[in-house]
Symmetry: C2
Subunit: 787 residues, 2 copies
Amino acid sequence: MMDYKLGTGEFEDWIVSETAFSTDYLGKCEAILSLGNGYMGMRSATEEPYIKEQRNLFVNGTFNKAHPNEVTELPNLADVTRIDIRVDGERFSLEFGETANYVRQLNLKTAELSRSFDWTSPKGKKLRFHFKRFVSLANLHLMATKMQVESLTHPVDFSFDSGINAQMNNSGAQHFLEGERRVFDKQLIQLVQTTNESNVDVVINTTHNVKVNGEETMAAPDMDMARRKVWLSYAFTLQPNDRLEVEKVTTVHTSRDLNALEAEYDLQQLRESSLGDLKLHALQGYDSLFQTHKQTWQQNVWDVYKLEIDSDNAFDQLGLRFALYHLTLMTPAHDARMGIGAKGLSGEGYKGHSFWDTEVFILPFFIYSNPAVAKSLLTYRYLGLAGARAKAIENGYSGAMYPWEMAWPTDGEVTPKWGDIDIVTGEQSRIWSGAIEQHISADIAFAIYQYNEVTNDQEFLDQYGYEMVFDTAKFWASRLEWNEEKGRYEIINVIGPDEYKEHVNNNAFTNYMAYFNLKLAIRYYDRLAEENPELLEKLAAPLELAAAYPDWQEKADRLFLPEPRAADRVIPQDDTYLQLEEIDLTKYKNQEKVRTIYRDYNSEQINSFQVTKQADGLILLYLLEQTFLHDDPRISKDVKSASFHYYEPKTLHDSSLSLVTHTILASDIGEYDLAYSLFQKSIEIDLGPAMDTSDEGIHAASIGGLWKAAVFGFAGVRLIDGRLRIDPKLPKTWRSMKFTIQWQGSPVSISITPTLLAIKMEDGEAMVFETNNVVHECTGYTEIPIA
Amino acid sequence: MMDYKLGTGEFEDWIVSETAFSTDYLGKCEAILSLGNGYMGMRSATEEPYIKEQRNLFVNGTFNKAHPNEVTELPNLADVTRIDIRVDGERFSLEFGETANYVRQLNLKTAELSRSFDWTSPKGKKLRFHFKRFVSLANLHLMATKMQVESLTHPVDFSFDSGINAQMNNSGAQHFLEGERRVFDKQLIQLVQTTNESNVDVVINTTHNVKVNGEETMAAPDMDMARRKVWLSYAFTLQPNDRLEVEKVTTVHTSRDLNALEAEYDLQQLRESSLGDLKLHALQGYDSLFQTHKQTWQQNVWDVYKLEIDSDNAFDQLGLRFALYHLTLMTPAHDARMGIGAKGLSGEGYKGHSFWDTEVFILPFFIYSNPAVAKSLLTYRYLGLAGARAKAIENGYSGAMYPWEMAWPTDGEVTPKWGDIDIVTGEQSRIWSGAIEQHISADIAFAIYQYNEVTNDQEFLDQYGYEMVFDTAKFWASRLEWNEEKGRYEIINVIGPDEYKEHVNNNAFTNYMAYFNLKLAIRYYDRLAEENPELLEKLAAPLELAAAYPDWQEKADRLFLPEPRAADRVIPQDDTYLQLEEIDLTKYKNQEKVRTIYRDYNSEQINSFQVTKQADGLILLYLLEQTFLHDDPRISKDVKSASFHYYEPKTLHDSSLSLVTHTILASDIGEYDLAYSLFQKSIEIDLGPAMDTSDEGIHAASIGGLWKAAVFGFAGVRLIDGRLRIDPKLPKTWRSMKFTIQWQGSPVSISITPTLLAIKMEDGEAMVFETNNVVHECTGYTEIPIA
């Protein structure tokens, strides 16, 4: 059972709880209750093991290729969470005996996981357990666990093994050499391992502080080693009401840490200094370490974003806090060499790779709420130019062709070639997106535009942004194909956002976004020529802009942009979609798991039906509206409405990216109840009752999209050709909504009720914005009644 | 609970049973009930998974180095044994619900594992399960499983997933590239993988035949793939008394198979032909395949060795059958490029490497019982000459210095450098045996001598044996160090069989065995000079025998051979042992697990006490007696007796090699009751009640030693300077003992009662033997009363 509002007082609406233990929910809870800090992420597996568990600890950026024929991925580090507990010599597990008063909860506010229950062993002895755990936001290398056990009724022999287990792997793929294990002073355990291809050193230290009734135990534990494992064994006889307390403090460092770049990196020195740090942390103890961690969450997260919803349905508030929580966990705010994985750091799914999910679904939150982090994420793409240029050359193009999946910036394209089973041939299916899902390059250009418009960060444009936009435009110019017969440029053989359609021609989303990218390059070139000819000159030679600029102009003007169908104003997803066979999709629209259509058809067959995986044309209408192309008649509101009603019934939402876009679009076209219901379904992608949906990790884009749905959808915030538009459409159940955004360097507090929009410029700067078709300028505090 | 005599009628004393399920015995049962055929070995993990399970499937000779800094080992292949069963949607496990009439048993005679029980689900539904499984001895590439399930009381939703899981690894080390997975005809599953360093291809095919009430099901199963996994999902509603029957037939082939050498190896062809084979096997069905397998066991094993004990204690008979069973499983009789691992093919322990265990503990059984296999095992060592010569050169010696641990013949030394934790420093302990446990070279020379004396196989000597003996003698000659002060050659800085003594000088076992090796080389040289000068000439140049021969003579004569201590006739284990501190060993002599002394002391400390891991001087006395040195006064019977009584109390039997040697020695010195009790303890190393002792695999040397203890100990068979001596000393509880040996090409049936020794020459050839100091010649049938 998941339960979402168990907190009281300070923590009301902050708690995600599991109130009955079930192994069916292991994967889901491990992912959605996971802990992390952007540097590392850890699934919340229980201390005691279960068959279906998936223990994962990832450190961002430590990519490695386990074998030459596999793609690079985030390796699963050694585990420190498992504790093998024996009660009277029998393995402790909640699958045995009787469990009462069970609750496992993640407190989003303090980012602490706790679990408590009374357990009666099969032999009838009653014990009370309490576990707590956090991964520190104050010190990115630190995590700590506390286990408290009380014998309630009988004397009980209680023993446990705890240490470091480096037998972990990624579904069978092993990324680490065996490494070195060592125990110092019969207490401090150190594991040093190196990845087998990328040569990243990882140093993990852990230590235990064990007390019975508040007294430190004197007896030394047994020490053991097995292959890739080292652990200590403790054993006690607990008398009734004896209370055992175990604190386990752990540090994780790698040679990919930013500070390993700064100084002369030396493994031996890292081993020593990290061990020294561990000793200090252990002396401080769990409670004190936790206080610092909790304060950091308050200061760095909650006091910055100030997102508050007063809704009849507390789930809305919790869902958005859940989003902010995971956005903090998944994002490597500390290091611009790293991106956001499609599952954050909460599971093996998608191997830690970054997709367009970042730019289109997650980045908007950071652009508006924490621009420094947004800049870091875009810098990651700048560092990826080398890989993007290499990919362009490999494919016979110019400029920067961004990888569909990106890992370490210089890795280039890392999309795997083979996927799930093809039910017709019995072979693995070919994954084509690495080769032909190309809109990512334009998505990145869009993100730069949006970042710059919202933040006014000219320095970013000068240093990184212009170069990226020019080079992606050069890619598109080289990518277009001239159709002599029709006298136009086309884009042949791509995959659009709807990945159920492979090898299509003139995917509307791709063509329009390429057009935007070309137009943006022209616009930036013109701006530079006028405002900063010196920089333009500097960029012109290496990027060959003299030849590129007229090429962009010629090609943008003659690029085929599919027109809405005259009869019904539906924008055709690609050249053939609207002519394909329509099939009865009821079975799949009502599916409990995603991708059930693959149980009946293979890719080739699905390619031939009017069935869509996720928002494709629809997301185009939403994205382009936020640019200087917002008044193009081909993306006008009636096209939005017609296309929504045409495509939504044909869309299986088989990607978690789909629902949030539909939420915003539904709101835009005035389908408010539908919008709210889609919003709730979006929250349920991770927080809903379906058991296996998050097993491979949380849905990072969907989580970023929750913020978008609330702020762009319900608060109606939109960037229209560089100006903020705020047209709130709060769901009926919402009494108020408050949040803070950063507009061109100024914090802006926005407060919305069904009848009032209030804007407060926290630093007294002026902001021009539009609401209900009226332009306002706010310097201090402005209230505007809502019609 | 283990139980050892559950069979009736035909199978009395053939059955090893587990009569109550306990996860504490998972490891033990997986190993001792394991299945195999010398080509492959499979641990008998249950179909349904448990936390502490260890699923292993090894194919002999497929050695691979997972990472450059690890040693080569037998990789754990993909698993086909696990079946994930759900009853009414809940995971089936014997840890839940109620289990009645449980029995799991290995029938040694038919080499079939079976398991049956009635199980009541937590929801109160009763089902009857019956599982059977074998790994074919008739077709080395084949295994099959049968699962029968009956719903006894209610309609029940029964579903299961079954396929191939290649996420398996060796305690975290992954040997295989990801490979290819495929399903043909929605039914035939094929996995193709290659090891990452040795480039061995492995092709595994599996298929299911599913019937309900005898009717094949028509519904196609769901097919799924995950990383390194492919499986089918079947689901049924079973009405009361409905009977589900699932047969799963599997084939395993590799590019290291002998026939891959013969023809032009082609992976694609192997894929196709193995799949074709699988289809034929599946058509034949479990029962028919099993009949052929069972007949092969009868013909190739039981009808050949004919070992029968009539004892008051049926455990004796069962223990010896258990030995013959596992000797068949562990031995690659099909391929001379492969040796016997210290755990056979029943666990990851010792990585599939061959030690002196083969020559001294296992080979005697084959020399006397199945000389063709003995020849194959010695040929493996011949193929290892390249590695042995390389090791000699690396260490600055001449000739052949055999690796302490050997894997693929040309690999040379493969002993790992680091082992368990040092409890004082907290570091991993350095393993020295690869560098300085050197007696293995002489042990191999001894094995050649013994093989040749028993079989009279001159061709082996001519082709392989002479060269090995000459080259090991050359090693020793180069290895000896001249002690100028004492005017003698010594062997400094070695480890003897007692590995608790590292870096000792003049280990008696090593010195005497080196002496034997030199003397054997001289003897063989002399024999060749007389009988086959042509071959001698051929060998002389490459082996530089002209220089070697006088060197052997000079060094053998001046090699220091430690004298028994004058006062008590105890042979000193090495230069310092008898002067070391004596400590109270009571705690460790009474230990339940081995190596508990390492909980209190580290290697350095143990090195300084009079404590012995396993028979050292004692095994010397037993081995040398079987050579032309049998009448050397330094190894006389009084030395045997004095040394036994001195060393046994100081010996912790912390190696499974120890007890069987002590059994033989106790018998030799007339301590018959002690001998019998040591024999029973030897059986209990694997078949006893201790739960974890076999977790890493069965004890191959101990199992070989059981046969030695019975035949060399109780039947008193011994080779004395080329002649057979038979001096039976049956335990009091034994009414008779029968067995067949092969003496110089002739099968000899030996029957012993407390009062009579009967010898029958099955082919009518003559055999000269000695009993009770009288020499007899037997041609047909001879009976000799026993005093």
